[in-house]
Each structure stands twice: as C-alpha cells, then as structure tokens.
C-alpha cells in the first residue's frame, strides 16, 4: 500500500519513518519531497541522550567496566573490554599473558555470536523474506519459518552457546561482569576450557555454514547482487579499523589505521593519540554527534577523499587490513574482494554499503578461528596470572577495541584516588553517523522518483541502507513452530506447581 505523505510548509511534502526498526536504539527518518515528488532532502535523527559521559564523573574508575556496558545491552562486551583497557591504561598496567588471552578469547566468542545474531535477525529478513514483503512477517521468526528447522537450530545453538561462554567468563549471559583493572575476576579452569573449546569449534563450523548461507541466499540471487552492486547503496569514504603489527585484523587490540577511499594509508595511531585524529561535530537537529577525521576536516555530508567523513564497519575493517589474521578468513577475504573489485589482494577498496553484511560474515570466520587458536593456548588456564594488582597512581587512560559496529574509544581522566574526573566515549555507531545519514539520503534519492509509488516496501529499502551498519540481536530456541506442544506450569515462589495448562 502507498504511504500518505503529510504536508508541511510550502510546496514540499514530508514522509516520516518513525521509529526506524530492527536495530539497537532509537532513530527516525524525515524525507522531504519537492513539488515534483523528487527527494529534496532527508534527515536521520537520533532522539536520545543519556549523558553517560557526565554521570560517570565521580564514579570509581574500576566500576566503569560495570557501568558502561549499559550503554548497549546488545554488545555489552565491547564496552566491557574498552573500559577495562582504559582502566589498565589509567593504572599503567601491563596485563599478564593469561589475562590478555582470557579477555581476547571472551571477545572473539562474543564477536561471532553478535555478528551471527545481527546477520540472521537483522539482515536476513530483508533478503530471505524480500525487501517488500509483509512487514508483520519480515523478522527472524519469518526467516526461521521460511528457511526451516536445520538453519533455525544452528542459529539457536550458536546464540545459546555464545551466551553460555559469556556466563563462563563473567557469570551472566547478558552483561558479563568479569573485567577489572589488571585483568579479569576469575581464572578459567581446565574443564571450563574444554567446554569453551567445544563452543569455539562449533562457532567456527557455524561461521563457515553462515558463509554458505550467504552464498546460497544472497550471492546466488542475481536480483540481490544487482542491488548490492548497482543499487542506490554506494558511496566512497575513508575507512577505519584496528590492525595488529602486521596490519592484519584484530578486534581486541592494536593500532587504529585509517585509509582513504583508494586504500592509501592516511594515519595509523596508538589509542592514546585518538583525539589528535578525530573530532566531533554537533548539529542542532540530532542528539548524536558527528565524528570526522581532523587531518581532512569537516566538509559537510559529502563523499570522497576531500571529506573527513569515515566509516568504521566490518567493511571498513577489511579495507584497512592488508590481510586477515587466520587462514580460512583470508580465503573468504580474497573471494570477497575479487567479487566486488576484481582484485583478490584487497588493495582496491569496497564501498558497497550492503556488502557490509558480507564483510561481517568474513569477520565471523576470522573471530571463530582466532578463538580456537586462543582457547588452545597452554597459558589460558594459568591459576594466578589472570590478574595483577595495580601499584601506580591512577591518572589518565584510553582503551580502544573494535566493537562489532565500529571503533570504540573509552577515555578516562581520574584523580589520584582513581575517581573519574572526565570521561569521553566515542561509540561504534557514532563513528558512522555522518555516513549513515548520507547512505539513507542516497537510498531515498535513488528509490523515490517523480511519480513513483511510495510503498512500505520502498521505505523499508531506505531503512536497509542504514541496517547494514548496525547490529541487533537474534532469537534463541532449539525447537520450531508446530513441533512442540506448549505446556504451561504456573509455579509459586518456592517452585511448587500451582496449575498446568497444555496446548496442542
């Protein structure tokens, strides 16, 4: 059906998408049409401000890894790790090997789970059900119903086991709580290690399976390939991501590398220097700020080498890396670049927004392989080296990790007692804010033309431009509709069954 546009001042008409859906967080889109029905302008607004940077002042620095994960309950581990690393820096701690191994392993397992849930719950509905399908069914439930038991069970198990791993590390499946300055709160026992290896092995198989699902469902469909390559989902920006000392991907640690739209390195910096390289702009129509590269400068919402707008996405991380850190991911990386640029080496940059989904799956394989390497490290289960007690006077520190949605910076300044005086947080999606606005506008301009019918499906295709950037969550279950009768038992506080109801 056609969406009625509300009239606003003058000859322009306005279409609002409120709220945008299948994402983590709030947002709305306003599209202004001129008298001819062409898109005159388009705004993506974030109507939310919680003020973590301010209310963290006065809190003890060691509590930050417990407070900041509540910025985002979908990727709490990213804040947990960035915050813990900033705490280490505040106390000038060099982590013992075991602590580092545990943190990175925890993070890589989280990465696979997070990317998987994003791929199946957020991206897949648009491709499996179709961009213009019934919105009431365009969600994970629809995807599982359509793809069937096999796929559903694999997704369910990946999520369930990923959260089981989180609970092994940090007590809780959501918002694990094990990070402290100097390491983690508890060691990994031999039996926990064995279970983690089982989980990591499964996640690797699952990642390879997901790559196959992507091939079968998206890349084998000429219409979708055409949409990715030639649809209104392309613009050239700088790319940002963490790399190790050999310029390979690493999600937990390394230096931040930025390359221009052709792939030439603009800068590579240690976390503590981040404020020299990025600055944030404020616009009066959104609560969220707009970071840009200081070496290039803010030139407005425009593409290209002359504009300081950059992206920090799975695609950007593949762009900045000379190679992946693991063999199977390297194969997938080469295939990805060859298909999209004609060059296996990765020297030519990819800027197709919808291909971020593909890059995300390549990263899944990478994180799973890396997790399997780490879980087999003999020092992982060392009974003491999982933490150290800080001795230096706390001062100031920066911690950076690659959140699934982009480079995540935590920067704390404390007094001599380790109480936060100032906090600055540049969060994953914030990095991509300007690019997201531009992607939405491009999609709107490409999809809404003079005289065209503005259907719900068209508006959803505009939303797809932004969904490519931002993860959400997945569902967990190991049974499927129609297979299991529902038995409802009502229990009192002590667990005694008060009544039982069965539905066929």
């Amino acid at each position: 059906m056609t969406i009625p546009a509300t009239t606003s001042a003058g000859p322009t008409r306005r279409i609002s998408i409120d709220p945008i859906t299948r994402l983590e967080g709030h947002g709305k889109i306003d599209i202004f049409l001129d008298a001819d029905g062409e898109v005159a302008d388009c705004f993506f607004q974030v109507p939310e401000l919680r003020g973590f940077e301010k209310f963290c002042e006065g809190r003890p620095v060691e509590e930050m890894p417990r407070i900041t994960p509540r910025i985002c309950g979908v990727c709490p581990e990213a804040h947990l790790m960035a915050s813990a690393k900033a705490c280490d820096a505040v106390y000038k701690i060099s982590l013992p090997l075991t602590a580092r191994l545990i943190r990175e392993l925890q993070y890589d397992i989280f990465y696979v789970t997070d990317h998987a849930t994003h791929f199946y719950a957020l991206a897949a509905p648009d491709f499996v059900m179709g961009p213009s399908s019934n919105p009431a069914e365009r969600n994970l439930i629809g995807v599982i119903r359509k793809l069937g038991v096999g796929v559903g069970q694999q997704v369910i198990q990946a999520r369930k086991w990923g959260h089981e791993a989180a609970a092994i590390f940090g007590g809780r499946p959501v918002n694990p709580e094990n990070a402290i300055p100097g390491g983690v709160s508890k060691p990994i026992t031999a039996s926990e290690r064995d279970r983690l290896e089982e989980i990591a092995r499964y996640l690797l198989e699952f990642s390879k399976f997901t790559l196959k699902v992507l091939h079968d469902l998206v890349l084998a469909n000429a219409e979708y390939v055409d949409l990715i390559l030639h649809g209104p989902y392309y613009h050239e920006t700088y790319s940002m991501g963490l790399v190790d000392d050999k310029n390979r991907t690493n999600f937990y640690d390394g230096k931040v590398r930025v390359v221009d739209p052709e792939g030439h390195e603009l800068c590579k910096y240690a976390p503590r220097d981040y404020a020299k390289y990025i600055a944030e702009r404020v616009e009066p129509w959104s609560y969220l700020k707009f970071p840009y590269l200081t070496q290039v400068g803010w030139k407005g919402f425009v593409d290209g080498k002359q504009s300081g707008v950059y992206r920090a996405t799975p695609q950007a991380r593949l762009n900045v890396a000379d190679a992946m850190s693991t063999p199977l991911a390297q194969e997938a990386y080469e295939e990805y670049f060859e298909t999209l640029t004609g060059d296996r080496s990765g020297h030519r940059m990819v800027h197709h927004t919808l291909a971020i989904h593909w890059a995300r799956v390549v990263e899944m394989v990478n994180a799973a392989e890396r997790a399997l390497e780490l879980v087999r490290h003999p020092e992982l289960t060392h009974p003491e080296n999982y933490r150290v007690i800080p001795h230096d006077t706390p001062t100031e520190g920066v911690g950076i990790v690659e959140a699934p949605r982009g480079t995540l910076v935590h920067h704390y300044v404390t007094d001599e007692n380790g109480i936060i005086r100032k906090a600055n947080l540049v969060v994953g999606t914030t990095n991509n804010h300007a690019a997201i606005c531009m992607s939405i506008k491009k999609a709107a301009q490409g999809l809404i033309r003079k005289g065209s019918d503005i259907t719900e499906g068209v508006l959803n295709m505009i939303e797809m431009s932004f969904r490519a950037y931002d993860p959400c969550f997945g569902c967990a279950t190991h049974s499927l509709p129609g297979q299991m009768p529902m038995v409802v038992r009502v229990r009192d506080c002590g667990g005694t069954v008060l009544s039982t109801t069965t539905r066929a």
């Binding site: 005159a40 301010k54 003890p60 509590e63 999520r159 609970a167 959501v174 600055a279 129609g482």
Partner: protein, 330 residues
C-alpha cells in the same frame, strides 16, 4: 487486518504481545530471548504486534490499534524525554497489561545516575567540553529546527530520569539488568495461563522474595568489617562472603531471583534487582545494613572505616536512583 501495510494474521485465542524501549540499552530486548528454546513455544500462543528492536511495526501502526488491543506490553527503559512519555501513554492506552520490564523501567536503572547531575552539566560535557569536540559555534540540539524545507523535531529531554510508574499505571514489575531468562519464562508462562497475581504497580514478578545473600553460595563467617577494599586492589578469598572481606557488595539490600550470578563470578553484587526491603529505597537499606557490620568501638574509628567506601551514592543506588526517596540531586 491491515494497518499501514502490516498484515497481522491472528489466530483466535492468541495473545498479542508488544515490547518497547525508552531510555534503555537494548539488553532487556536481548533478555527476552534468553528464554531460549521456549521462545518459539511462546510464538505458538502469542503474536508480536510491536517490537522496534526486532519487528517492523511503526508508531503509526500502534496508534491505529484499538484501545486495549495489546494483551501484554513489556516496557523497558526509564522516561527521559517527551517521546518516552508519549509512547508510555500510548502503550498504556493500547495495552490491557503494561509491565515495567527491567531495572530502568522499574527503578530508573543506570541511566538514572544522571539524576545526580544537572541537565545543563550533561549538555556542557557532551556538547561543549569533551576532548574530541569541535564546536566553535556552541551548537546544541534543539527540539525544533527549521530547515529550508520544513521543521525538524526532536523530543525534549526531561530534567531527570523518571520511572515508567511515575508516568502511567503499571500492572507489574519485572526486575533485573537485564531480567534473568528463567525468571522471564516463569512470568510468561503465568501470563499465557492467565494465572497472574492481582494487578498492582507494586507487585514484582520474575524474582524471589528474599535477598541475593539468601541465594549466594559464599560462606558467611559472621565476622565484622575492619576495613573496606576496592575490588581491583585485592583478590578475594574464594567462597567467603565478599562483604565480610571488605568489598562493598549490595547482596544484602537487593531482591533475589538472579541466582547470585555476580558473586559466583567473584564480583560484588551491584543491586540490579532493586530493593529487597519494603521501601523502594535500596540505598538506605544498604546504609542500614552496613552500619550493623562495621567493626569499631569508637566513633572516630567507625568514621575512618566508612570513609574508605568510595562513592556510596553511585554504588548503593547504582540501579535504583529514580526509586529512591530523594530521586535526584537538588
């Protein structure tokens, strides 16, 4: 039926379920999925009719629903802006049962720590003084902004974070940051069976009736506290009560039901299940409990010991400032 293009294929007798987030992080939405294998059992008996995080229903769709159309709406997040309030009122009208889901909707949660700062201080930090800011024009977000093509609106930020129950009648509360999957499933089972306690905004479901200490496996040796330690400055002895060791742990003032997950991971409880007491003020319950376990016989010594606690307000009210007696900094 058709509402803005959304075909809702509803079988008779199926429940209509909605979920919404206000000033929250998305962790509650994730926690609903922690019911794991039960989720699709739920979907057998319930249709999702609104869930911005996972499904494509828009506000306009909800506004078109008849009043009372949604059988159960799980509302997470506190109320911080005019948009949160608008949706709280809309969903109250459209829902037969409205549940304050999670610490933020129930007690303000961690975002309510902002109530210790003034809104002006928050704006100054976020838009004027962060080290990465470049804002020479001193620009701030405006609730209305005229572009050449038309006006753009942003919801206004309220002076402090409020609870859902401060705005509308709430039928039940489910505590936790986020609620634990097994507890959520218990509640959903009760809802599906129609076996729910009498509606009352004070009724907490999805939790137990005692304190976290009651389900914590760590041993209490009935020793008193001679000195407080910060968690990163000492390694706790395993299996011994963290509070007795001098780590500020909120288990005593916190409602049980989570399974004492944090103390089991060698971390102190931070109180996400809210107050265990009759009063909703969790911080004073902790103040009270601490007073009973300090090992000091002189006033000066007692003061020395408690002065070692850093940030009592931000710790004792970590998840519940909006439910405290005072609610916010003056």
């Amino acid at each position: 039926m058709t509402t803005n293009g959304a075909e809702i294929d509803r079988q008779p007798g199926k429940l209509r379920v909605g979920m919404h987030w206000a000033s929250s992080c998305g962790g509650c939405d994730i926690s609903l999925l922690e019911i794991g294998e039960h989720l699709l059992e739920l979907i057998e008996v319930a249709d999702i009719v609104f869930w911005p995080c996972a499904a494509d229903f828009k506000y306009r769709t909800v506004a078109d629903y008849p009043d009372g159309y949604i059988d159960v709406c799980l509302f997470n997040g506190g109320i911080r802006s005019s948009e949160h309030e608008r949706l709280a009122r809309l969903l109250r009208r459209k829902s037969r049962t409205l549940v304050a889901y999670g610490a933020c909707a129930m007690d303000g949660g961690i975002p309510a720590l902002a109530n210790l700062k003034s809104p002006r201080e928050i704006y100054d930090a976020v838009y004027h003084s962060n080290p990465t800011l470049h804002n020479p024009g001193h620009v701030e977000p405006k609730t209305q902004w005229a572009t050449p093509l038309g006006e753009l609106d942003l919801p206004g930020m309220y002076p402090q974070v409020l609870r859902l129950g401060d705005i509308v009648d709430v039928d039940y509360q489910i505590p936790g940051c986020p609620p634990v999957g097994a507890q959520v499933w218990k509640v959903l089972q009760a809802v599906v069976a129609g076996e729910v306690p009498a509606r009352n905004s004070a009724v907490r479901v999805g939790c137990d009736n005692r304190s976290v200490c009651d389900e914590c496996p760590r041993e209490k040796r009935k020793t008193r506290i001679k000195a407080f330690k910060r968690p990163h400055m000492a390694v706790p002895e395993p299996n011994w009560c963290l509070l007795e060791q001098g780590f500020v742990c909120l288990g005593a003032s916190t409602r049980s039901g989570c399974g004492a997950q944090c103390p089991k991971a060698e971390m102190t409880c931070r109180g996400c299940y809210g107050s265990a007491g009759l009063s909703s003020d969790q911080g004073t319950a902790m103040l009270s409990a601490l007073g009973s376990v300090i090992d000091a016989v002189t006033e000066d010594r007692a003061r020395e010991v408690v002065d070692e606690i850093v940030d009592p307000t931000g710790t004792f009210y970590r998840f519940s400032l909006a439910s405290s007696a005072l609610k916010a900094r003056r």
